[in-house]
Amino acid sequence: MPAAFPFPTNEVLSAMPKSPRPRARFSFSPTVRALFLAVAACGAALPALAATEHEEVDRLMQSGKLDEAMTKAEAFLKDKPRDPQMRFLKGVIQLDTGKRAEAIAAFTQLTQDAPELPEPFNNLAVIYASQNQFDKARNALESAIRTNPSYATAQENLGDVYARLASQAYSKALQLDQNNTAVQPKLAVIRTLFTAPPAAGSKGSTLVASATTTPAPAPAAKAPAPAPAPAPVAKAPAPAPVPAPAPVAKAPPAPAPAPAAAPVAPPVKVAAAPAPVAKTPEPAPAPAPAAAPASNAEIESVVRGWASAWASQDMDRYLAAYGSDFVPAGGQSRKAWEEDRRARIVGKSSISVNLENLAIKVDGQTATAKFRQVYRADNLNIASRKTLELQRSGNQWHIRKESVGG
């Protein structure tokens, strides 16, 4: 067997989550963006959202102004040289600007000064892995997990590192030359310090370095339905304890085990918040805005349920995701379409359906979910844009129309 492994290239990887559970990736910080967009949607909220310096730095980083971000970070650190959050951000900037050695130094120092933080360990591992030092990457990730066993990004990174190490060991066992095939697995960098609560709802917030934040935005009430931003809302993984890269963590991560708890826009958090930080300014208005974004979460859960039924070849659940008013494309009858779907789904040795860039728009009783669908089955690997139109009937949402593109 030739020693050719189908490693995707880095470019692909950076655009595509590798695992069925999409994970927080390098290039986005959904909560920040969602927040940003929500804010943009209602300019009035802006002043109240005056960002902390951390946010400012993070925002600069997001927009690619790394030099500026660095200047700000360094200025801040002049005053507060020990601030872990800013030191961490600085390390990420160094990483982004290719200053690996400095980033290693920064993160290493953080692991010594604040060994309870998993994030610096994680990012150290990312750098080590990029240097082919997978043993060191493994050690760092294991430290991250010792620190916080439910830290999903580190867990998944560690899974990748184990897979790579195993692959290397097998190649050595078989004396295959692996040098010419070794494309790095690209591990997920954590962008900001944020520690998820150890167990959903059990304790209050364990926000570590970021509890410095501004009070939860009062304007929550003002950003009601608009959560609409077809923003990268649903990027975050379903599992609750996921370290949604919620940057400065305006609100504690919603400890609710509800899927999509973390990712949704801030108003939700305020609303849903069992508010460990208890800064919720106006509990009263909360319920109102809650309704709309809750729908977002609902839609996401329906869409993910649909994808997972598909991937697990659970035809009953898969077909049940479609409403009675679903119209198959191409003029097929419902029955013919069902047969067709069954034939295409059942019997594949394995299917994976990953959703990326899921954007949800709720409009009363209807909703639209647009996303990039990465479908893999047996030898197929097809990525395409997809739009699902959903309709609420009673408490349930069903797919009314499925179309490619959009």
């Binding site: 899974g159 190490l165 066992a173 994976s352």
Partner: protein
């Protein structure tokens, strides 16, 4: 009639592995499954993905044919020691000659019977550490097993089986949900045909360590061994194992045993280039300086006297059968890998090199060793010794007709000018007629296959003299009588 006692079966020691929940959780660890009796089967029931490893367990001889990367190393002879076997041996490479039934698969996995003996024979060096990994895994200590495996491959990166085990332990840590390209790669690597060889190596190493020779027994070939041979070697091809014995006036004592590889096509070498390891009773004839050898032979080489006179008598051909080491890139080679040589890991070979005596260390290579007790060996010795005594007495009596009965018509004495039966009769009578001769330093090595043979080495001392001849005689039993067909005068 002297029948070799066949009931000297290997003892099975309990191997302290616990199969159970853990294994169900770690069916991914394919080489490790082999370490645990019955585990592969159990896992197979619960998880079809492990069927490969289960298959590997039962496809011992197929492993030889898998022709993976390990078999690809050229068995080219070192230039200096070349004996012209090159071409034919290389030509024979692609041939799929039937694999000798080395591995009847008759040995059952460890039975949990009397927990009397030590848990597991202590093995040396890298193998011991590998076994330590297996044991930790078997006790559910996967983290410790992983750590030990990691240091083992760090120290021996070219130990392929250790890499496999390390890979298995790592792969077991990958969450099932991981969809990394590496995960797909892992599945493909596991499906590589060469994996079968590594699994077979694993199985044989464990089997050899689990099933130990009963205390106080010796391979049935070693009836008597003069203390002039301070060491003796016996190779059990079915177990891929070389047993090293120390010899003293108290008899033979097993002091070490090592994993070895034999010919790609198995054993029972018959013709040059058949890529088989000869079966028989041999002696180490020299020790080749590793600096004069290609890297391929590793730490050194110990040629044996294949074809011996019995082989020649039966028309066997070929040459250049050595015990040698491994190339730098391989700590060990597959169970069936060489062109007929016996291949050992370099650290193991180095131990052996310090002990062997040129011309005096016997090497028995057997398909499967039979182990007999010392009293049985003595009984067998006595039966044969009577023939030697009768031969000696006939010679002393000067009765040519009587003496002639001990020689087959095609007898030959090896010397610069080979001497035939008639010549030898005259020589012996001149040499020893009427003298009292004492025989000393006897070594009787018994070899039976389709025929019954004995390789007798001894010294003669005439009364009143200090020295006499040292002989090595090859005897064949015909019609119940032992007869000489070959003789070498060693000094």
């Amino acid at each position: 009639m002297a029948d070799i006692v066949r009931h000297g079966r290997l003892q099975t020691l309990p191997f302290p592995l616990r199969s159970g929940k853990l294994l169900a959780a770690l069916t991914a660890a394919s080489a490790l499954l082999l370490a645990t009796p019955g585990a592969a089967l159990a896992a197979n029931n619960s998880n079809s993905s492990s069927s490969k490893s289960a298959n590997a367990k039962t496809s011992g001889t197929k492993a030889a044919k898998a022709g993976g990367s390990r078999a690809s190393a050229k068995e080219a002879r070192g230039a200096k020691a070349s004996s012209g076997a090159n071409k034919t041996q290389l030509q024979a490479k692609g041939k799929r000659s039937a694999v000798a039934a080395d591995n009847p698969g008759a040995t059952r996995p460890a039975r949990k019977t009397a927990r009397t003996a030590a848990p597991l024979q202590e093995a040396s060096g890298a193998e011991a550490r590998l076994i330590g990994v297996y044991e930790l895994f078997g006790r559910g200590k996967t983290r410790e097993a992983l750590a030990k495996a990691q240091t083992l491959v760090r120290d021996h990166p070219n130990f392929q089986l250790a890499q496999l085990v390390y890979g298995d332990l790592l792969a077991a840590q990958v969450p099932p949900s991981n969809a990394m390209p590496d995960t797909a790669g892992i599945a493909r690597l596991r499906g590589n045909p060469a994996m079968v060889e590594l699994h077979e190596e694993s199985r044989r190493r464990l089997q050899a360590l689990r099933e130990r020779p009963p205390a106080g027994t010796v391979p049935s070939q070693f009836l008597t061994l003069s203390t002039r041979s301070r060491f003796a070697i016996a190779v059990d091809a079915s177990r891929s194992r070389l047993y090293l014995f120390e010899n003293s006036d108290k008899g033979l004592k097993l002091v070490a045993d090592y994993y070895i590889s034999v010919g790609k096509s198995g054993t029972d070498k018959a013709v040059e280039g058949d890529a088989r390891t000869p079966l028989g009773v041999y002696y180490i004839t020299s020790s080749l300086d590793p600096r004069s050898l290609k890297d391929f032979y590793g730490a050194g080489a110990l040629p044996i006297n294949y074809p011996n006179p019995y082989d020649v008598r039966r028309g066997k051909t070929g040459s250049g059968i050595w015990l040698h080491g491994t190339p730098p890139q391989q700590f060990a080679r597959a169970p069936l890998a060489s062109d007929g040589c016996v291949v050992m890991a370099n650290p193991d070979l180095k131990q052996l090199l310090r002990k062997v005596q040129i011309g005096a260390t016997p090497v028995v290579t057997a398909r499967s060793l039979q182990w007999i007790s010392q009293p049985q060996a003595e009984k067998e010795t006595k039966k044969f010794a009577d023939s030697i005594t009768a031969w000696k007495d006939a010679r002393a009596s000067g009765n040519e007709a009587q003496l002639k009965k001990f020689y087959l018509p095609d007898f030959q004495r090896a010397s610069r000018k080979p001497v035939d039966a008639d010549g030898v009769l005259r020589d012996e009578l001149t040499y020893a007629q009427g003298k009292r001769v004492q025989i000393k330093d006897m070594s009787y090595l018994h070899w039976r296959d389709t025929e019954d043979t004995m390789v007798a080495t001894f010294g003669e001392v005439f009364e009143g003299e200090k020295n006499g001849r040292t002989r090595r005689q090859y005897w064949l039993r015909q019609g119940g009588e032992w007869k000489l067909f070959h003789e070498e005068i060693l000094g």
